[in-house]
């Protein structure tokens, strides 16, 4: 059975300027121990998708449709109290900026112990014990001493490790990681990636890794979903999608990554700017930036179609295999 | 660059409204001076002109922003009660059942009567009771309201005028003059106004003119600082450079551009300051260093009744206090709405 099954999720923001459909019919599912890379530019709705799963979308945003089944339970039907008992316990989240996620005026000990004791009736000492073990596991040296420190006494990378440790505290079934390594140095980024991957394998935790960076996904995720303007435009096993992208947008994203064996090749970039979510075009949202666009694309939006084992694509003019290799 | 912004958007009125509001301003000034000097039109006519002029000015100020201003029930309540209290203050002479300062109308036999009692001879009912000299509390409140309002408005306007001159001058002049003026401002603002006013009144002695002067002295620095801040941020904007580039004389830039931009924040601050000044004046009068006993403000009325409070004759202090609270609270609430409406990015 899948850990998480999201069906046709819709999260809209009701602003003065009109309704912004930040997430507009997103579906995916995830098995235990599986890693899903959710890729897209900023504003594509990938973070909102993550927050929707935890029911932490801030006003004026609201989940207005679809189902989020977590271990067979529709999260929308849960009371606030029941939802809270899942958060940080069965479903954990890691945020983008480690400088902002830890409360600057509380000791690490307080922030970790409270996370344990919010869900388990254990003594302070027991919770602290647990915190020390998890900190050690994410690679914090002399964790027992570091517990007494305040967040500003840690480096950015160390802070993110602490945040990851907090997410792992209660052994969740699912972790939603919202660009957790974007704000970090490249070396620390790869260290953390490797460690998180190992932890997920070991514990069987399913992981949603939200990022704008396909390169990160390449080494980490089992499968990938590419989002554009609130919709998933392409999804499938990571290797398949990366070697043979079907959507011009995915192709564009891949083209803009510098990589091994491509020295001397010119990096391509996607023309135009990220779309204005309040005023999307009638047809395919990517049409204004697409090099394969024609009248059909401008007239109506394409639906998701299966184009192979576990692969979905939302395009009228997909790139076929031979073209992608060229 | 496509276009340099040459016209600042201060209080934007159409031409007709600009003329109307100027006429209203003149009417207010004229009727006030006639009332104070006692010459010219009959007082009742002057008072009506004054009231109409004030309402027109308020309407001009809020033109096109009524919806934003009246965004909740409290805005309606505050505006209505402020309007009512201003009417009561302006027409105190006409509305009061009794002239509380005409000794011939007072009878010591009517002293300290509870609310609802009638005079010794049964000719008049004291709806809010009487004080120790047989004075009708309701009439005392109406007259006191007029004293409180006029003292604080006069002091606020004068302090604002001084503050505007000092603030704009120091922002415009800059350099040493600015430093010295702003040092004085900082120095004065570092002491609480009540203490400064208390000492001034102790030195001056009681008197309407004296308390107005004291209230001006404790307030001007506040305006000077605000105006300087606004003027400084305006002088850095491009349209001022453009105006200078066009060779406009300094006074045109100051009066045509700088001053109009300072008006929205000034209106918001002065509204709140009138309320603060009323409280300050009443506190001083309560302490016995404010208005003279012959022209009691609300604060002095409260002080007079204070001695009888503990013996249960609450009405002498209680009702003037309610009136004081009503006027201060409605001004503050209107000020709060004005801040949101004109939105000059102010912090308290």
């Amino acid at each position: 059975m899948s850990v998480l099954d999201v069906r046709d999720l819709q999260t809209h923001f009701f602003t003065d300027a009109g309704v912004v459909k930040a997430v507009d019919g997103v579906s995916f599912s995830l098995d235990a121990g599986e890693v899903l890379g959710l890729v897209g530019e900023s504003g594509s709705g990938k973070s909102v998708t993550g927050f929707s799963i935890l029911r932490l979308v801030d006003a004026p945003g609201r989940v207005v449709g679809g189902q989020i089944n977590f271990k067979g339970q529709d999260l929308a039907t849960l009371s606030n109290r029941e939802m809270r008992s899942l958060r940080g316990n069965r479903i954990a989240m890691i945020f983008q900026d480690p400088m902002m996620t830890l409360n600057p005026v509380l000791r690490i000990e307080t922030q970790m112990v409270e996370a344990v004791r919010a869900h388990h009736r254990v003594s302070h000492a027991a919770a602290k014990d647990r915190a020390i073990r998890v900190l050690a596991r994410v690679g914090i040296p002399s964790p027992a001493d570091r517990l007494a420190a305040y967040p500003h006494q840690f480096s950015g990378g160390m802070r993110q490790r602490v945040a990851i440790a907090i997410a792992l505290l209660n052994g969740p079934d699912l972790i939603v990681a919202d660009e957790p390594t974007t704000a970090l140095d490249v070396t620390i980024q790869s260290q953390i990636l490797a460690e998180v991957q190992e932890l997920a394998r070991e514990t069987g935790t399913a992981l949603i890794w939200i990022t704008h960076d396909l390169a990160v996904v390449a080494g980490l995720a089992d499968k990938v979903s590419v989002m554009y303007a609130g919709r998933i435009v392409e999804s499938g096993p990571t290797d398949d999608v990366l070697t043979a992208p079907g959507h011009p947008y995915t192709e564009g994203l891949l083209g803009s990554i510098p990589g091994h064996g491509r020295r001397g090749e010119r990096l391509t970039q996607i023309p135009g700017m990220a779309p204005n979510m309040a005023r999307l075009p009638v047809g395919c949202a990517f049409a204004p930036r697409c090099h394969r666009v024609d009248e059909t694309c401008r007239a109506k939006a394409p639906a998701i179609t299966d184009i192979g084992p576990k692969r979905g694509l939302r395009c009228f003019h997909p790139i076929v295999e031979t073209e992608g290799a060229a | 660059m496509s276009a340099v912004e040459t016209t600042p958007p201060p209080v934007d009125l159409g031409k007709r409204w600009r003329i109307t509001s100027r006429m209203a301003g003149v009417a207010v000034a004229a009727s006030l001076s006639m009332l104070l000097s006692g010459v010219g039109l009959p007082p009742l006519v002057s008072r009506i002109i004054l009231l109409v002029g004030l309402i027109v000015l308020a309407a001009a100020l809020l033109k096109g922003k009524y919806r934003k201003f009246f965004s909740g029930p409290s805005a309606y309540v505050a505006t209505a009660s402020l309007l009512l209290l201003v009417v009561l203050a302006i027409f105190a002479t006409e509305l009061s059942p009794q002239n509380p300062y005409d000794l011939r109308q007072l009878d010591i036999m009517d002293g300290r009567l509870p609310p609802g009692s009638t005079t010794f001879d049964g000719s008049m009912t004291f709806h809010l009771g009487t004080d120790e000299q047989g004075r009708d509390i309701l009439s005392g409140i109406l007259y006191g309201l007029r004293v409180s309002l006029s003292v604080s408005i006069a002091a606020t306007l004068a302090a604002m005028a001084i503050g505007v001159v000092v603030g704009i001058y120091s922002a415009w002049a800059g350099g040493r003059i600015e430093t010295i003026l702003m040092r004085i401002v900082d120095f004065q603002l570092s002491f609480p106004s009540i203490l400064v006013a208390l000492m001034l009144m102790a030195a001056f002695g009681r008197g309407l003119d004296k308390i107005v002067i004291a209230l001006i002295i404790v307030q001007w620095a506040y305006y000077a600082r605000t105006v300087r801040g606004t003027a400084l941020s305006e002088t850095r904007k491009e349209y001022i450079d453009a105006a200078r580039g066009l060779g406009l004389p300094d006074w045109r830039i100051v009066f045509g551009h700088l001053l109009p931009n300072c008006i929205p924040p000034l209106i918001v601050i002065s509204t709140v300051q009138v309320a603060n000044t009323i409280v300050l004046e009443s506190s001083l009068s309560f302490l016995g260093v404010g208005v003279p006993i012959t022209q009691p403000s609300l604060g002095l009325l409260i002080a007079n009744g204070y001695g009888y409070m503990l013996s249960g004759q609450y009405w002498m202090s209680m009702y003037p206090g309610v009136a004081l609270l009503a006027i201060v609270a409605s001004i503050n609430m209107v000020g709060d709405r004005l801040r949101d409406t004109l939105n000059p990015r102010l912090t308290r």
């Binding site: 809270r84 902002m100 307080t110 | 506190s283």
Partner: protein, 325 residues
């Protein structure tokens, strides 16, 4: 940094000297103290004698130089009424005012912080709006009238608390304080509440703004993602963050609290230095007025100086910018 401190210290000394001049000549204008000191039917000779004894017969500038000379030795004259050295007199009244101001500060935090945090949490709901409207009333209520109302309700009608006076005191570190005795504390509650009301409104607004800002921060969202209850988030995560600015502002306000105690002490007949000042103004007790003003100026200079130094330590930008705004 050191240069900044020295410059600031020099400025403080300058302010002190300026205030001495202002205060002396200001107070010199208040009436003729001799009228108070001796009976109206005294002979001209007696009047002259008294004038000479207090040095009133000398020209103003001589009196001023004498005043400065004595002031530098900590002597601001003897009270005409009490016959004690004025400084000593005021210092003996000071603990009563300080403990009142302190309890007032505590009350204003106890009232203002919960209301403000709740108003910030429910900012767009009727609860938040109601609290904000209520805080306008807090700003609007004149201090002395609130005091009278509290006396009327709690002392006259309900008879729960004493109306005026100070009650039992306990000697602590050489100061007579009410705050440590149950009886004394009863007498303090009403005046301290009165004094606290205005500041409570201020704290409410500060706390509300701080809460609204804190609630938008990632660490609050992260705390929610940890599954913490809203209560825990407000009471631990938000509160701890907003207390630092609130305490700073309140420290600044301690001075104005002492100043406003003048009114409150008069209403409640609280024997502090504020009431002493008002009594001295009525009796034209010049040395006490002067001493009160000088001591208050010193207190203010110390508070302002401390705040400046703390700001400088916290915010290096202040050091460059020569002036406060």
């Amino acid at each position: 940094m050191l240069v900044f401190l020295l410059r600031r210290l020099a400025q403080s000394v300058f302010v002190l000297i300026a205030m001495m001049i202002v205060v002396f000549f200001g107070v010199y204008m208040i009436g003729n103290p001799v009228d108070i000191l001796i009976s109206p039917d005294a002979t001209p000779l007696e009047v002259e004698e008294t004038m000479a004894r207090f040095g009133f017969d000398q020209p103003v500038h001589i009196q001023f130089l004498k005043f400065i000379g004595n002031a530098l030795q900590g002597d601001l004259g003897r009270s005409f009424v009490h016959g004690e050295p004025a400084v000593q007199l005021i210092l003996s009244y000071m603990p009563a005012t300080l403990e009142l101001a302190l309890l007032g500060l505590i009350f204003s935090v106890m009232i203002g912080v919960p209301l403000g945090v709740y108003a910030g949490y429910k900012a767009d709901r009727w609860q938040g709006r109601a609290i904000m409207t209520g805080s306008i009333f807090g700003f609007s209520l004149p201090n002395f009238w609130v005091g009278m109302l509290l006396i009327l309700i709690f002392a006259v009608e309900l008879r729960w608390l004493p109306s005026t006076g100070r009650g039992e005191t306990v000697e602590v570190l050489g100061m007579r304080l009410s705050i440590f005795s149950a009886d004394g504390l009863q007498y303090m509650i009403l005046p301290a509440l009165t004094l606290a009301l205005y500041k409570a409104s201020l704290v409410t607004r500060l706390a509300r703004a701080g809460t609204q800002e804190a609630l938008m921060q990632d660490y609050v969202k992260f705390a929610r993602a940890k599954g913490l209850s809203e209560t825990r988030i407000l009471v631990v995560h938000v509160l701890k963050n907003i207390m630092i600015p609130i305490i700073t502002v309140l420290g600044l306000e301690l001075g104005s609290m002492i100043a406003f105690a003048v009114v409150t002490e008069t209403v409640f007949a609280w024997p502090g230095m504020g009431k002493l000042l008002i009594d001295s103004i009525t009796t034209l007790d010049r040395p006490v007025i002067v001493a009160y003003l000088m001591l208050t100026v010193i207190i203010f200079i110390i508070i302002n100086f401390t705040v400046d130094v703390i700001y400088t330590l916290l915010d290096p930008r202040v050091r460059v910018r020569g002036e406060a705004t």
